[in-house]
Symmetry: C2
DNA sequence: TCCATTTTAGTCCGAATGGGCAATAATGCT
DNA sequence: AGCATTATTGCCCATTCGGACTAAAATGGA
């Protein structure tokens, strides 16, 4: 096995990627592949290939598959915070109902732009892996704290029927995510692209029309 | 329903499982594993082990991994039809609003008892595999046909705000499924078992209270 | 009784997986 | 200029995967 035209071992092709971008590219690819295949189903080689790299490079940057998963989740939280903050800036001065409507609108748009998010939640929320605990603590808890405060206010003001908060939170979040999480189903069943601007506003209208009346 | 003496043919399993049960056991295991790992992530060996068998036996009964998947889906549809039919029998004579409430109640209970269903939808509804097409045709289309008829009636009678039907369908289905699809998340974040009787009725109440008012 | 059929287990294979590791090119510090 | 660090590739490993194939055990029909 000696003779082959042994190509140089080291670091040959440094194509055009600016150095700092590699990590980011891997994280984006990881979110995509993890959301489509789940943790066990996702392969480091697929993720690397999606970013145009060799799989060992993923391990160099993130050590482990588990390490990559945690880094990708942290990245996802940052994306969500950045998106939601923008809506919050214009919403914070509004009266409670309009603030709620604004935040729902913002969240629906986030779901449309990052369907990976809800998909990963469904994937990882089973069994009793450490990943469920991590998600519950770092993503669910803060999110629900905000939402339940808003919902209590809306119930006090009589805009939505009084009801235990936790069921309501899950109803609203799932309703907001649905058409984007299931985008492939909608495409296959109706031939419609739910990520389009028209579909996003139609969905937002339907949801707000149902909840606030 | 096998009575004692007539053992069906074939080599007995090491664990002397009644022969007719093998297929059913594999299908149940397949639904469970497929829902937790997705199609690619699920291994025939895991499914076989969950049913207490060797992986070759799965291939004997269902030929292919794809064949097993289709058989499991057909089985799932039968389970759903059986469950929903029971609700429909008592609901069909009721006035539209109560019929709707009864069907929602029945569906929520189905989601609680078969969380695999919604999880599989999320898993398989991505990419453009043939499985998406199969699901859209065999599960989504008939389901939505029924639901949209009911919703149109409710809108005509002014019980829910007029709105395009498709967004509404996704809002309602996702809302009904959410706490059970995400059961692990709820357990990790709140320490609550959403499959319990109390949680099922609480969720049903919250959903109906939000939609019908 | 003997043989075809049915149902099970066991074995082997090529491909893919997560991980370990050495080689090497680029960069930056002194 | 020299050297440590960083970023990258290629290759190796044991394990597991889907699948193909074979062996065996039990039954029923001839």
């Amino acid at each position: 096995m000696s003779d082959a035209p042994t190509r140089p071992r080291g670091r040959p092709a440094r194509n055009d990627r600016p150095v700092g971008e590699t990590r980011e590219a891997i994280l984006a690819a990881a979110l995509d592949v993890f959301s489509r295949r789940g943790f066990e189903g996702a392969s480091l080689r697929d993720i690397a290939a999606a970013a145009g790299l060799e799989h060992s490079l993923v391990r160099y940057h993130f050590t482990d598959k588990a390490g990559l998963w945690r880094a990708a989740m942290t990245h996802l939280i940052a994306l969500m915070d950045a998106h939601m903050l923008e809506g919050w800036r214009t919403a914070r001065t509004l009266p409670a109902v309009d603030r709620f409507a604004m935040m729902v609108t913002t969240y629906v748009r986030y779901c449309a732009r990052h369907p990976e998010h809800a998909r990963i939640m469904v994937h990882e929320t089973m069994g009793d892996s450490d990943r469920v605990t991590w998600i519950a603590e770092h993503i669910i808890a803060p999110q629900h704290r905000n939402l339940s405060r808003m919902l209590e206010t809306l119930m006090d003001q009589g805009h939505i029927p009084r009801s235990p908060v936790r069921p309501l939170i899950y109803i609203l979040s799932a309703a907001a995510q649905a058409p984007f999480t299931l985008a492939g189903e909608v495409r296959a069943a109706y031939g419609v692209d739910t990520a389009s601007e028209a579909e996003i506003t139609a969905h937002t209208q339907a949801l707000l029309g149902l909840v606030l009346r």
